[in-house]
Amino acid sequence: MYKDETHQHMHGYGIYILVWLGLLILTGTTVAVAGIDFGALTIATALLIAAVKSYLVLTIFMHLRIEQKVFRIFLVVAIFFFVISIVLLFADYSFLTNL
């Protein structure tokens, strides 16, 4: 039973190399874009590219795409609470500075 499940769990070499190329291109993009000033959007762009890169690493390199669904649910819950913390932190912070 376990054997079958482990054997299901597999990627070929090709997809990893594609993802790696994608990650390198995204790194190049983030460096190139960093020189341009988008104002407040500059950080947002950098974080967006980093998020896309993380998504690729999580789904392919870390096998989340072929892993059981419960792993993805776990991760979504963890990220959800992480985002809540940072939103509340900034909400709190902006009220404090207005005092």
Binding site: Y2, K3, E5, T6, H7, M10, H11, G12, Y13, Y16, I17, V19, W20, L23, L24, T27, T30, V31, A34, I43, A46, L47, I49, A50, K53, S54, V57, L58, I60, F61, M62, H63, E67, Q68, V70, F71, F74, L75, A78, F82, S85, I86, L89, F90, Y93
Partner: protein, 206 residues
């Protein structure tokens, strides 16, 4: 005894449980680094200009180079798992060794980067540092703590992969049982993801 015979005949394994345990551990790492990213974001918000000025001191080229090294090491780590799944033991060992070499390369770069900073007198508590603006001191403090903690993770990861290489050579990790290698891989990819965020936030904000 029937139970004993049972244990000998059927070694209990729960690969999914093992991987899930690893993921739960990775979530605690998210909190560890997450706390620092919170600190970074608030201090940066308070000291926008100072962070920009201070970040000019960082060597973007070394940062880019280290990013490429770490991404490639993630690739070789992933490839080593596919290799063992395809019963190609030597190829898997080769990829694991390449991963370790790349990890060491990352640390060598980090060594040169830090020594250059320290030679310029930029280290916590130094006179040069104390002469800087408050925001710049905060930036360098965060830089040392966050890249330092990340570097520590790189070292731990490299040691961990080294242990896995030994287990692969001994045949403990093989085509039918490679969850240990997978878990070490998960840890290694997490280290990569943390760097994916550290890199633009420290090196690319000039």
């Amino acid at each position: 005894m029937t139970t004993e015979q049972h244990t000998i005949g059927h070694v209990h394994r729960d690969d999914i449980g093992s991987r899930m345990g690893m993921w739960l551990f990775l979530f605690t790492e998210l909190l560890l680094f997450g706390g620092m990213f919170f600190l970074y974001s608030v201090y940066r918000f308070m000291n926008v200009e100072a962070f920009h000025v201070a970040a000019k001191e960082l060597n973007t080229l070394i940062g880019c180079f280290n990013t490429a090294i770490l991404l490639t090491s993630s690739l070789t780590m992933a490839l080593s798992i596919t290799a063992i799944q395809k019963d190609n033991k030597n190829l898997s060992i080769f990829f694991q060794v390449v991963t370790i070499v790349l990890a060491l390369g990352f640390m060598v770069n980090k060594y040169f980067e830090w020594t250059a900073k320290i030679d310029h007198g930029l280290f916590p508590g130094s006179e040069t540092m104390l002469g800087l603006e408050q925001g710049e001191i905060l930036f360098f403090g965060l830089y040392y703590v966050m890249t330092g903690l990340h570097g520590l993770h790189v070292i731990i990861g490299a040691v961990l992969i080294g242990v896995m290489t030994r287990l692969t050579i001994k045949g403990v990790i093989n085509k039918d049982s490679f969850v240990k290698l997978e878990s070490a891989g998960l840890y290694w990819h997490l280290v990569d993801i943390i760097w994916i965020f550290l890199f633009p936030l420290f090196y690319l904000i000039t």
